[in-house]
Amino acid sequence: MSEALITAKVLHDCGHINLRGRRNDAAFVAAVESVCATSLPQALTTAASGDLRIYWLGPDEWSLVTTAEKTAALLAALNGATAGMHVAVNDLSAAFVTLALGGSKVRELLAKGCTIDLHPAAFASGACAHTGLAKAGVLLALQHVEFRLIVRRSFADYLLQWLHRSGAEYGIEFV
């Protein structure tokens, strides 16, 4: 068997926190940024700090992904820092499955089921987009050369089967 052109891995050690608040509320932004030790990402981008990745979801909504172990502490820190503010901080860890996709043909595979432009010039490291992949709603992000795919748990089995079949021609390997 030749070397796999795509590798896929389900990341089990992830915690997801959904954060909502007003971008133009300076106190809110400052509180979150001091807890996260990074800036809140602007539209269609991500930010990273250690184990934490922050994905932009909408003009007043972000997804914070860290290790399962650190999720409870991050949730408590965010709740503490934003107490009394007009915000919503929710632990949605059980709702999502996170996949890491890498390899030389991963853009070609994703392009089979996705309508956004995945050319390296249009979708570079640090980009993220909530979009459709094979009709399933997914959060797609790129960090250096590794794609992250975050999908609702109820769609994960379907999406893994789709990746398995659509990636067959590239010798996709699930690690």
């Binding site: 539209a43 269609l44 909408g58 003009p59 309508t115 956004i116 909530h130 979009t131 459709g132």
Partner: protein
């Protein structure tokens, strides 16, 4: 396939959006004062123009926000899209 410009996410395929009908419909400030015809007009009667139409779209598979689009119903040209 339409390319619709979401004011937050940029141009995306039509399949990511859901249509929300005519934009700019205001709920009457004092519904009790309306007669049946006026209430029916608010609830049911919509413009169906040949040409430019102001409409609501929701970026359902993206940022999930509602926004307003000006679309030509003949040429499908989208001339404007903006936040509500």
């Amino acid at each position: 396939m339409l390319l619709i410009k979401c004011p937050h996410c940029g141009e995306r395929a039509e399949t990511e959006f859901s249509y929300g009908g005519e934009a700019g419909i205001q709920r009457p400030a004092n519904p009790d004062a309306l007669n049946d015809a006026e209430w029916a007009d608010y609830l049911f009667n919509r413009k169906n123009p040949r040409g430019m139409h102001a409409e609501l779209w929701n970026h359902a598979q993206g940022c999930r926000r509602w926004f307003r689009v000006e679309r030509d119903t003949v040429s499908y040209l989208i001339s404007d899209s903006r936040e509500l």
